[in-house]
Symmetry: C2
Subunit: 210 residues, 2 copies
């Protein structure tokens, strides 16, 4: 389905994500969203009542999609120590495909941390599996049953997410600071995965077993 064949509602949602991400909720203009979507401005109010509700819908639908994706990754991963590799791979690839999402989310965290907390709580309640806890369980298992060091799985999750996400939210700064503006992003992202996995595997596993 091409963009032109989408329903008016979906055209608006797509355009709104674009504009909200680059301009923020307050900086975004309803007219600009309408123009980008190729629909009349009044349509935005017809479908979403007002700007706040349009924003809420964009935020919610996108964060849900992200959670669903991550859930699939974590649930489908197979052997314990192979899982970390699959998760990092899928996680980085996902952000490479959707570089807008981390920015949208972090913007909203700064804008209104309480509303973000409420949404996350809702998602946790709604989801049958608690993804982070599942992942923590997985790390715990690995730690006690396998040749992993004893580290706090929660801290490790934060470290993993930080390493996977930082390039996508800080790209412009990183490119200038590290002089990599001419490097092929695709290749750089591939190396990112390797570096993260190297640090994790090497850092978490006992060396005698290698």
């Amino acid at each position: 389905m091409t963009e032109a064949q989408l329903s008016t509602r979906d055209k608006i949602l797509h355009a709104a994500l674009d504009v909200f991400v680059s301009k923020g909720k307050d900086g975004a203009r309803m007219q600009e969203i309408a123009d980008l979507a190729g629909v009349n401005k009044a349509m935005l109010f017809y479908y979403f009542t007002n700007k706040d509700l349009l924003y809420a819908e964009v935020f919610r639908s996108n964060i849900m999609e992200m959670i669903a994706n991550i859930k699939t990754i974590i649930i489908s991963a197979d052997e314990p120590d192979k899982k970390i590799e699959q998760i990092v791979n899928a996680y980085v690839s996902f952000f490479a495909d959707h570089p807008d999402l981390p920015r949208l989310i972090l913007r909203e965290v700064a804008n209104d941390p309480e509303s973000v907390k409420a949404i996350i709580r809702e998602i946790k309640d709604y989801a049958k599996e608690d993804i982070p806890m599942k992942f923590i369980g997985l790390l715990h298992e690995s730690i006690s049953e396998q040749n992993f060091y004893h580290v706090d799985p929660k801290q490790t999750i934060i470290s993993i997410v930080g390493m996977c996400i930082i390039y996508f939210i800080g790209k412009p700064i990183i490119e200038v600071l590290l002089d990599i503006e001419d490097v092929d992003p695709q290749e750089f992202i591939e190396q990112r995965k390797q570096n993260i996995l190297f640090l994790l595997k090497n850092g978490l596993l006992y060396k005698e077993e290698k």
Copy 2:
């Protein structure tokens, strides 16, 4: 010097940082900044001409302060492998003391990546030492002269920054997702440092030498 004793100009600057961080440039209201600073709104225009210039001044002065701090840390650190520990320690502590800065910066990256690039370029030109390159040199030395694995120092820097910064920019999400709302932040931050250092030292250094 208490807040009340500050010059009108500085009162405005402090209040503006607060409001810009939580509301963003577009969401911030000049009136709100004036109220928080305890000065008349007209004073903002008297000292800073308009909103854009006030924002630019807030952004620039704060990013400069941050760079200056990090520079001090990196330059003053001593032995190569002790340096990583000092850097991570100081970096995390700095963000713990100034949790607003990462958000201010990442917001501006999303809003106007080109202007951020320009500012970073300026700072690079202005600074006598190129901090990241100095750090890269340091890692390179360590890699060739010491018992470090051969990894790309640029990737490693990104990993370190990501691990150090993510907790502060994603705090509300992390707290809910990992069920740590009741944990003492101070203690958690201390554990964060330990986890980062464990992963780095364990991940980067050959194990035979331990």
